[in-house]
Every structure is written in C-alpha cells, then in structure tokens.
C-alpha cells in the first residue's frame, strides 16, 4: 500500500498509478484512504474470526501464534480450522468483488452481476447433478464450475443482445435460474437425507471445513487475474463513458469488454469452485465501493477489498452468531444481499433508470 501511495504522489498527477505505458491503475486520494480503512476493517474482522468463541486463540497469543509460536489447541485452530477458512474467505470475497466490478463496468448495469444472471443457481445445479449421477468420480466443485459456465452461456445466448440490456438480462437470468433450481430441488429430493443436507448446504455456498488446498486454489486464480485486471483498468474506466467515446479515444471497447467478461468469469468460477455459489457478494461489493468513494470508474481494487470484508464478516456471523448453528455462509449473504438489492432497486426506480 505504501508503494501505491508513493506512486500516486510522484508519478501521476492525474490520478493514475502508472507502470510503463500500458498499466495505469486509477488511484485517487479518496480511494486510497477508503481502501486503507477497508483493509483495516478487514484485518479487524479477521482478528475477530481467529479469536472469538470457545475455540478462539486468545488475543494476547495471536501475534505469537501467527509468527509460528502456536502450540496444541491454538496450532490446531490456526492451521486446520479457522486459518484456512479465513484465507479462503478473504480470497473468495475478493474474487467475487472483483468479478462483480468487472461485470457491472462492462454491462454498465448495476444488476449485471453473476448472481442475477443465474450463475449461482447454475453452479448449484451442476453440483447437484454431479453429486447424484457421478458420486466419488467427479468432484462436486467441478460440477459447480461446469454448471455456472453453462448457465451463463445460456443467458448470454438467450438475451440476443449479450449482457447489455438490463431488462432482458434479468428476465433471462430468472428463467435459467428457475430451471437450475428445479434440478437442484429434484436432486435434493432424490437423495438420502444426510447427503441431501450436505448438498443443500453446498449449493448455498459454504466455507466450513475448507483446507489450504482451497486457499491456494482461489489465491492462485486471484493472483493470476489481478495483473490482467490492472492492465485493462484504464480502458474500462474510459469504456464507462460509452463505446463511441472509448473508440474515439483509441481504446478498443469490444476487446476490452471481452477481456473483462472473461476475467470476471474466471474469477467467479474460481470462487464457486472453492466455496460454492455464495450469493450477492459480487453484486453488492462494487455498489458499496462506488458509494463509499463517490467517484466514477470501475473501482476494481476497492471492490475486491470490499468483497473480502463482506465475506469475512458474513463468515464471522456464520461461525459466531448463536441464533442459528453452523449455517452456510451463503445464507447470511443471501439475506443481507437480498435486502440490499431491494434498497438498490427502489433507488434506481426513483431515478428512473430501470
């Protein structure tokens, strides 16, 4: 973060952090401050995740434990239980936030998110089919991945206009989601109760019992995608002014869009394959990021940090709220995200956008 700030102050009076001629990440003072605050909040939430509860590592011992001094129960909690889960939550949340920001920037549509276009339900159906038809041979997460991609393809094809038209997008998404949900419900019906409830938890998106394998998977996806996102960030920023202006300024809008959608799909698919279809993070994180800074642009970095914060908070609730025991984290994000979506819709309507 310090390097970013230095770059911001010295190299780029116009608010871009540049690296050679191709990379130009929009960095504004308000964004940097917001990002710092969000990182601090995330660190706080992460600390709470590790320390709270019966199995929590005492706050006084946390620093020691993190630097390798954990023993006995603390070591087990840090290395096997909450450590990997927290790292997966951070990575998945960031991936979803980034994916949502890319989608919304390309579609110029606050609803153009993986959730609305049926990606989550597609992943659920894919997972369900694999769990029923090919148990033990194909991992459920692979089925989720395939289902998500297929659902997205279906929506893309059936709108006839790609992801651009919000009304068509939403309705097609609802249609695809309805079929996928029907499949999932049938499989949940057809299975043994114990298997069915495991599957029901998975199709809501869950972070329980995640291992370091999952953590490295999602972080690899994230690290691979991040530089590419940085490469297209400036072009996306220009693209938000409209295709004609973007073309006039020499950035090829169609290429940028294709690249951004592909990146968004890779990120979202990565998230789905480790954590299942977690609802609404991709939709809400960019919106929140946008409202926090009130400047234009795709807010890639901020959305990623916001996504990580939201998911860590939701997972903290999933682990510690006494009201419901051991609920999958996706249920918390669904409830909160649904309420937020409602708020968002009423706002859009007042402004006459939809």
């Amino acid at each position: 973060m310090t390097a970013d700030q230095a770059g911001f102050r010295t190299a780029s009076p116009r608010g871009f952090l540049t690296l050679g001629r191709t990379v130009a990440v929009p960095v504004r003072r308000v964004s940097v401050v917001t990002a710092l605050v969000l990182v601090l909040l995330t660190a706080g939430a992460a600390t709470a995740t590790l320390t709270l509860g019966r199995l929590g590592i005492p706050l006084a011992d946390l620093a020691g434990a993190l630097t390798g001094g954990a023993e006995g129960k603390d070591a087990f909690v840090l290395e096997r239980l909450r450590g990997p889960r927290l790292v997966v939550a951070l990575g998945t949340g960031a991936a979803l936030g980034l994916s949502g920001a890319l989608f919304q920037s390309v579609t110029r549509n606050p609803l153009g998110s993986p959730d609305v276009i049926g990606l989550g339900s597609g992943a659920g159906a894919g997972a369900a089919i694999v769990a029923l038809m090919l148990p033990d041979t194909v991992p459920v997460s692979l089925g989720a991945l395939a289902g998500a991609l297929l659902a997205m393809l279906l929506v893309y094809v059936s709108t006839g206009t790609g992801f651009r038209n919000p009304a068509r997008l939403v309705v097609a998404g609802i249609g695809v989601a309805a079929v996928c949900t029907a499949i999932t419900q049938y499989v949940v019906y057809a299975m043994e109760r114990d298997q069915a409830s495991v599957l029901a938890a998975y199709v809501n998106g869950s972070l329980s019992a995640r291992a370091w394998d999952d953590a490295s998977a999602i972080w690899l996806v994230l690290l691979a995608a991040a530089p590419l996102c940085a490469l297209i960030a400036r072009r996306l920023d220009i693209g938000e002014m409209g295709d004609d202006i973007a073309a006039g300024l020499g950035s090829e809008p169609q290429k940028t869009k294709t690249a951004a959608v592909l990146l968004a799909i890779v990120l979202c698919a990565g998230a789905v394959s480790v954590a299942g279809p977690i609802a609404f993070i991709a939709l809400t994180a960019p919106q929140i990021a946008k409202r926090l800074t009130r400047v234009s642009g795709p807010h890639l970095l901020l959305s990623a940090v916001t996504g990580a914060l939201l998911l860590v908070l939701a997972d903290l609730a999933a682990q510690q709220l006494p009201l419901f025991d051991n609920l999958p984290v996706g249920i918390y994000t669904m409830a909160i995200g649904g309420a937020y979506l409602g708020y968002l819709l009423t706002r859009e309507w007042r402004r006459g956008v939809l």
Binding site: N165, A182, Q185, Y189, A201, F280, N326, P328, M334, W349
Partner: protein, 345 residues
C-alpha cells in the same frame, strides 16, 4: 392475437366467424383435456390401456386394474385443480399488472407460502396437508401484497419491477427457509419433499381442503372479467367508462393470490404454468379476459396433467416431479419471450 387486436370492452362474439372459431377451439381444448385425463389415469409405474379405463368406468374391469386406476384419481383431480388455479392466477396477474411476465412463482407468492409452511412445521408442529394449506395461505397473501408494494413504490408499476421485487423478496425468504430447515432434519425432510412440486402421494383430503379457496378465487376471477377488459384500455379510459381500476386491481390480486396459494399449498410450488398458459391462450382466443379466464381453466389442467404424465414416463420406474417438468418446458418459452422483448430498458 389473430382475431382481435384491440380490447373489446363488451363484445366477445361480435363477429360470427370469431364465435365459430372460438367454439371450435373450445371443443378442441376440451377434447385434449379429456385425453390428458385419460393419460393421467392410464400411465404410471404400471401402465394400463384405454380399454381398461373404459372398463373401470363402466364397472366391468377386474379388481386389480380397478385399484390401480382408482389410485390415480386423487393426483389427477389435484392436477386439474392446481392447473386451473395456476393458469387463472397467471391470467389475472398479467391482466392486473399489464405485465406479460407476471406469474405467481416469479412474484414471491411461492416463497411466501414456503416460508410460512416451514415456519409452521418448525415452530408450531404443523403436520398434514390440511394444516399446511392453512399456513400457506397467509404467507402467500402477505408476500403477494409486499411484492406489489415494493414493485409499485416510486411511481407506476413497470414491466420488470414486479419481477425484480419478487426476486428480492424470494431471496430474503429463501435465506430464512434455508436457515430454518438446515438445522432441523425433520423440517428439512418434509420441506424438500414439498418444495419439488409433485401431484403424487397426496389424497382427496388435500383436494377437498383447498377446493373452497380455489372456487372462491375462480368465481371472483369470472366476475372480474369485464372489469379487466376495461382496465386494458388504460386507467383514465377505464375510469371514464365508469369502472373502478383500483377495485378491479385489488380484486384481481386477491383472487390470484387465493388461487396460487391454493395450488401451492396443495402440490408445492410449480413454476411457469401461470406464466406460459395465459400467453398461449391469448394467442388462441384474443384479448377478451372473460374468454382468457375460461380457456385458461381448460389449458392449465391440460398442461399440468400432461407434464405429470411425462414425468411419470421418462424416468420409469422412478418419477420426475411435475414441478421439474414444467420448469423444463417453461424456461425455454420464457427465454424465447425474452428475445422478443421490445425496448432497450
């Protein structure tokens, strides 16, 4: 669409050829429905022939065959009732909101009924389909009203708004349902059997307990037919013709909610029947709502029974639930409709 392109406030049978055409559609519709009824009692894990059905009806069949065929009566009756309810509810909702996408399932009514039923089984120990029915109704009603309130906030009720509002409410209610069911194996068990939407495994008691609601809703729908025709001309014109748009709308919403709550409580949430049937019917008989409602009452049961029979045949000896089959039929129809949507927003 072929016969009339404008809304006739009074004249259904204005033209003689139109009346003849509608009469032939009516006869054809009834014939197809009769076929679907026959198929529904004939096919299953143990299939019988048409001759067997005739024998049973005339009392001349052997007892085994009679038992098999009679065991399919309740699900057939439920199919007729639920199909009628869903299709008429869809017609009413599309008329009231002038929104071609309105459907009980998309508008949060299913989620409301589900949430209510889950609450009842988890916290009040409700069991049995009759008790379920009594719980589904208020849930569906509250959800239906809520979606309309959210959907019409800040101005007129637009094409997509109600659907979105329904999606939002459904999301929140689904979170609640999952939260309650995942921690309680018994509730989860009964919920997962209910939510998939099936006609089988239910007895005549269910039919009888939802019948009053369905009948009330249907009668209101028939009474509202002329009012809905007037509404189609626009609120200002309707008011100047002496109609009461607000009353018609409230009545239509109430009847649609009664009907879809009855169907949902009886057989679980079934998607797309309420969405697809009105579109087909409108193409066949035109824009007169009195005809639309009557023909929906024939086409809905036909579609649902046909879907149920298909579900019984494709995976034999297992069954595919009717809700799954209708989703597979309905979603492509919706996607085709999306491609034809006009406008950029």
């Amino acid at each position: 669409m072929a016969t009339t392109t404008h809304a006739p406030p009074s004249g259904a049978g204005t033209s003689r050829t139109g009346a003849a055409r509608r009469a032939s559609i009516l006869i054809l519709g009834l014939a197809v429905l009769a076929l679907a009824l026959c198929a529904s009692v004939m096919y299953g894990s143990r299939s019988t022939s048409f001759g067997d059905v005739v024998d049973v009806l005339s009392g001349a069949a052997d007892p085994n065959i009679t038992t098999i065929i009679e065991s399919r009566y309740p699900r057939t009756a439920l199919g007729v009732l639920a199909g009628l309810c869903l299709a008429v509810a869809g017609t009413l909702m599309q008329g009231v909101s002038r929104n071609p996408l309105a459907d009980p399932g998309l508008l949060g009514i299913n989620a409301g009924a589900s949430a209510s039923i889950v609450t009842a089984t988890a916290f009040f120990g409700a069991t049995g389909s009759t008790a379920t029915m009594w719980w589904a109704l208020p849930g569906a009603l509250i959800a239906g009203v809520l979606v309309h309130v959210i959907g019409s906030s800040g101005g007129s009720t637009g094409l997509v708004r109600l659907v979105l509002a329904g999606a939002v409410l459904s999301a929140v209610l689904m979170a609640y349902i999952q939260a309650v069911t995942l921690g309680r194996p018994k509730v989860f068990d009964s919920y997962r059997y209910w939510v998939v939407g099936a006609l089988g495994g239910r007895d005549f008691d269910v039919f009888m307990s939802v019948l009053p609601f369905a009948a009330t809703g249907f009668v209101i729908a028939l009474v509202l037919g002329p009012g809905l025709n007037t509404l189609a001309l626009g609120d200002a014109t309707a008011a100047s013709l002496g109609a009461h748009p607000a009353r018609v709308r409230a009545g239509g919403l109430f009847a649609a909610t009664l009907l879809s709550a009855a169907a949902t409580a009886a057989v679980g949430p079934i998607a797309f029947v309420g969405l697809a049937v009105p579109h087909v019917v409108r193409v066949l008989v035109g824009v007169d709502f009195r005809l639309q409602i009557a023909f929906s009452a024939i086409a809905g049961p036909t579609l649902l029974l046909a879907a149920d029979v298909v579900g019984r045949i494709v995976l034999r000896p297992q069954e595919l639930m009717v809700g799954v089959v209708t989703a597979f039929i309905g979603a492509p129809a919706l996607l085709i409709a999306v491609r034809r949507m006009r406008g950029s927003a």
